[in-house]
Subunit: 463 residues, 2 copies
């Protein structure tokens, strides 16, 4: 009986310990469930679950599904990278040409997937329904602060003493700037110049919207040797330049010449930053900074108040400013970019672009048929070191006499670039985009290697 009692006591002790543990576990679980952050969510829960469910759809690393994708069988379909198809983008399409025409900056997509938590955004149904912010402008003050802070950290532009005006993409601001700088009611329209090779939109847009106050005129060389100081001139200066990545300065020096500095690519991704730009009118875009081309957001830094006000009037009459959703998203993304003084984003972006450039130039260096632009190493004040090139585009030249139509040569080799003629240059040139997805870049390299191999009499089977 004594033994039994002892055993009974022992069991009781075990039971007591188990019970105590169980109660402690209950307290822990209850705390997490009822007090912890997760449980406190209410109206945002379904939307969050929906977004995470879509994000978890597997597209084999060669695509992704979106919340607003086309719905099949109750869920959005995978949208595949070029040369991939199938329900989960796992099928590689044979003999598929590499499409490196557009400047779609998807090289940064993996960065944002890696930073999913900090870059996620929850928008309430009643978020900013008004035309205006609390200060009766159409411009987010917090976003303006973040932009100024970013320029200060990167050291690529002087914002002190400059007004900031937002645009629905820098695209809207380019034409707004032309209109703002052109002379009202002048007897002759202001003439818009740009140096070859240049981004095609300047010409297309200026001609499409031309008023009586301005007209597209063409290459700066048309004027340089002219001595008419009274001609009203507006020059687009793209630095680094699209397509060739060169840092540029205005070349028209007449007293009546004004310049629009398009600094879309003036970020550590694409170029060394030798010093902050301090021009009278500078335009930047989110597209080439964070990679969000689909988010139509750009900004202009403007010294002159009258020019600033005219650009503001333009965006007001045109679109009533920038959509509040777009401003909210830009703020969220810029605040992630600002973390750790931008090291995380700029390191990722620069390394990706530098690696791509090195792979590309390694291949091209084996060729006598093709050459690409040379960009000298420079000291970068942001990274505090001398760094080599990492441009957004390769400006490729066909060197053989018979390869006059370079675009055609590449097309026959399975590479779809953008013909030099689109940039006002010779058809011996083609722009190849290096900022699209890794798949796009890999396919470009693959096709280029075959072309280079063929120079030495090799065949496709050799690689």
């Amino acid at each position: 009986m004594g033994v039994k009692t002892d055993q009974s006591l022992k069991y009781n002790k075990y039971a007591y310990v188990c019970f105590l543990c169980s109660v402690l576990v209950n307290i822990f679980l209850s705390y997490n469930l009822f007090v912890g952050k997760k449980w406190s969510l209410s109206w945002s829960t379904n939307a969050a679950a929906e977004a995470e469910a879509v994000a978890s759809i597997s597209c084999s690393g060669h695509g992704r599904a979106y919340l607003d994708g086309v719905v099949v069988d109750g869920k959005p379909v995978c949208e595949c990278n070029t040369c991939y198809d199938g329900p989960d983008c796992s099928n590689y399409i044979l003999d598929c040409p590499s499409d490196v025409n557009s400047g779609d900056p998807l090289f940064l997509e993996p960065f944002w997937m890696q930073n999913a938590a900090s870059s996620a955004l929850v928008v309430s149904g009643w978020h900013r329904m008004s035309y205006q912010f609390g200060d009766h402008t159409a411009t987010s003050q917090e976003l303006e602060k973040s932009i100024r802070k970013l320029h200060s950290i990167v050291g690529n532009a002087v914002t002190e003493g400059k007004y900031i005006v937002f645009g629905t993409g820098s695209t809207q601001l380019l034409n707004a700037a032309v209109l703002a700088l052109s002379q009202d009611n002048s007897s002759t329209p202001s003439k818009v110049f740009v140096s070859i090779p240049f981004y095609p939109a300047y010409e297309e847009q200026t001609e499409f919207f031309a008023t009586e106050d301005y007209e597209f005129y063409g290459d700066t060389s048309l004027y340089k040797n002219n001595s008419d100081d009274t001609m009203d001139m507006i020059e687009f200066v793209t630095s680094p330049n699209n397509p060739d990545g060169k840092l540029k300065r205005s070349v028209l020096k007449s007293p009546s010449a004004k310049a629009i500095h398009d600094h879309a690519y003036y970020w550590p991704h694409f170029t060394a930053i030798p010093s902050p730009s301090d021009e009278d009118l500078m335009i930047f875009t989110l597209s080439k900074l964070t990679g969000h081309a689909g988010v139509r957001f750009g900004w202009a830094l403007v010294k002159d108040k009258a020019v600033y006000e005219k650009i503001l009037t333009y965006t007001g009459e045109n679109t009533f400013g920038v959509s509040k959703d777009t401003q909210l998203r830009a703020l969220k993304l810029l605040n992630v970019a600002l973390q750790g003084d931008g090291r995380s984003l700029f390191k990722y972006a620069h390394e990706t672009m530098r690696n791509r450039w090195e792979s590309l130039t390694e291949t091209v260096s084996l060729s006598t048929r093709f050459t690409v632009q040379e960009i000298a190493p420079r000291f970068c004040t942001y990274f505090q070191n001398v760094r080599g090139p990492s441009p957004a585009y390769a400006w490729l030249k066909c060197e053989r006499e018979e390869d006059e139509l370079c675009y055609k040569v590449l097309e026959d080799g399975g590479i779809l670039g953008r013909p030099g003629t689109r940039f006002g240059a010779s058809s011996r040139y083609v722009r190849l985009s290096l900022i699209k997805t890794q798949d796009d870049f890999d396919q470009l390299l693959q096709h280029l290697k075959i072309l280079v191999l063929q120079e030495a009499g090799g065949t496709r089977a050799d690689i």
Copy 2:
């Protein structure tokens, strides 16, 4: 001993039952925490908690805090309705004029607060970074589907056989439509007409962006008696009209006259829907449908392919289409609007507008000094009944001979409307916005009652 053993057994039984209960509670809590939906959230949790924390900031019902509001003491400040201030908007500002100038459609804000869960949106950092959707257009197919479905349910527009083009607000589409309808390279520019009273933006925008192909001309009466059939004419037709809420038709009947039908207000909120509009070019906006003026989104329904393509080119050259964030949000909001065939949104919107109109006209009916427009009851095919007026604006007239400057009369009475002269009309008229917040409307009514009371020799103290 026997008793002790019995007791011991009894305790053991209790302990066993308690332990079993505790384990069951463990299982239940674990299930909720680890398997249930709440726990499964990962990258969206912080953003959701952040948005809910901001939404829970109390602004006394006279304001709201936003995620991108100006931050003070670590959290966004309350943004107060007109005539309220203080950290939580609880302070009513004495002798504050009622500001009913703008068409800010905040009357729908409470609807979206009531529908917080279904209208919340979670945007991932990598959402739609590309310029294009999967089908290589800049236009969301799902959003287009929702728009067509909504028109079909409401019965306010025929979408079959029409192209849809999106704009950064209908504002962008108004000018795009003018450019698309004007004659290229004609010796004389197309002339843009509109009937007085009209929405001021038509004139301001057309003049601001005027090219060689079109010019603002003025009131349709300038042409009506003219018989020049060769003149290229474009007529803005706003139906229901802003400012007076009347249903309108084009008045220029020449073979070379084209019309842009601005149907911003052609929703059951503001008017009976007698039949679906089936015009060649119709423009709609999210702003006056869901109340999201801050979301810059509009759309045009276009019959002619060439006109559609020119509008599409305009939006492309101007802003590269509509921001993907904006399209995503518009999709979310329209899908809430579509729930229950739109009954919930349209019932709320119509009742609010009808109640405001009834309160306003009740006050005005006591006056001989002021009158407002009359709108006849009509059968509404959406609500399937005859319904009275519920316009977005009161088009108020000062009837006394000495009250020629009606805006001034109202201003002296603490009401800031928009002068009739802005709409091309006489200074005897003033537009009063009825679509702002309930606070704005209440203040308008309060000031108007005092003005009407003063006619009978009453004083402020009487009400």
